[in-house]
């Protein structure tokens, strides 16, 4: 009965909290995923134990961090580095290791989150909304 009271969102169109997950009547026939690339709504940024922090002023915009990022978490604007997408960044550190001018530092996540002035983050807890990052480069 409880499940019927609230209209569930269409299957898999946004990031779902456990209580919002669709019931069996909401799932399309054949359990098909109807929206291509809706996986972008899934947050993987909370896997991170260290986050990359970029000194943008010293960045030479070589885009190595972008081409080597396994999670497309480097956001570009007009062929230049713009920010790190902390909603998806898993904190692997490849960007920091491959940066030829060493301007990407890996900072302990807990420390970074307690610092309100995170560089590159859109809000206090460093999570960009999935809509804002879906376009990538």
């Amino acid at each position: 009965m409880k499940a019927k009271q609230k209209a569930a969102p269409p299957a898999a169109t946004k990031a779902l909290a456990p209580q919002e997950k669709p019931g069996w009547t909401d799932i399309p026939i054949g359990a098909v995923v109807v929206e291509a690339g809706n996986g972008v709504n899934y947050q993987t940024g909370d896997w991170r134990s260290e986050r990359p922090v970029v000194d943008v002023d010293k960045c030479i915009h070589c885009l190595f961090c972008w081409v080597f990022c396994p999670d497309n978490a480097v956001v570009l604007h007009n062929e230049k580095f713009k920010s790190i997408n902390y909603y998806h960044c898993k904190g692997c550190g490849i960007c920091s290791a491959e940066c030829p001018v060493k301007v990407i530092t890996m900072v302990e996540e807990a420390k970074a989150q307690s610092n309100a002035n995170d560089s590159g983050a859109a809000d206090g807890d460093g999570n960009l909304s999935p809509k804002a990052v879906g376009k990538g480069g």
Partner: protein, 308 residues
Amino acid sequence: MAGNLKQLSHKPERLVSGHRMCAGCAAPVLVKQILYAVDVPVVIANATCCLEVTTSVYPYSNWKCSWIHSAFENTSATIGGVEAAYRAMKKRGEIEEDVRFMAIGGDGGTFDIGLQSLSGALERGHRFVYVCYDNEAYMNTGIQRSSATPLGAWTTTSPVGTAIAGKTRPRKDLTKIVAAHHIPYVAQASPSNWKDLTTKAEKAFNVDGPAFLNVISPCVPGWKYEPELTIKLAKMAVDTCYWPLYEIENGQYKVNYKPKEKKPLVEWLKPQGRFKHLLAPENKHLLDELQSQVDREWEELLKNAGES
């Protein structure tokens, strides 16, 4: 030419963020680099593998292109059928659009389980690109040895103990097995050398017939190293000539990159936990054998390319 990074940055992302590959996995890096090389729509058949299970967790899909999951053993048959249907529909005027086809699998799905369907599809001459991302074991199921696992490497089914010290058999040279089908384009590449990989992918998609890319894909849990080293290890595999970058275009071998100084293999092995035991004095004979295999294969490659 596929272009420089600034040009590539305008290409659409076909494998989007939010997938559940391990932090530092090389597979999504090489997939995105390969897909930057195509501008037309792509249909992908994905063998069961890490890439498949992590990008299609219900109710999500991380693919922005047509994508079909196939079992290990029939990926090439699946994409061959799709491609044949496309050709028939195009002939009848039911499709006008230009479409490219790609199959992708790990080394388990390519070297071992999917080999006969791959061989069949290559022989039938379907126009598709097969990409094997070689992480050198069955990583998805928990690091069991495959025929791509190198000699001496630790896996859960080639453990290190008193009876054996890692895998007792050398790896299979799949690139050459595929080349023996005399298809128009075969290449070996690495995500560390992105320019080389995107150029090869572009060539592969443009040949009128089957093409094959064998791409090395360092695996953080399987190779046991720190995740930030992924690209460095891929590069070092190239610089030690363990994983030479070469292509075979219509039967002509070409070595695309010759390291200025061929580094000793031990430099590539050192950061990897799976080879830790090879550094012990009692296993020196294994290390030497592995090095001599690499040297022999490199010399053979140079000879095939007419460069020695």
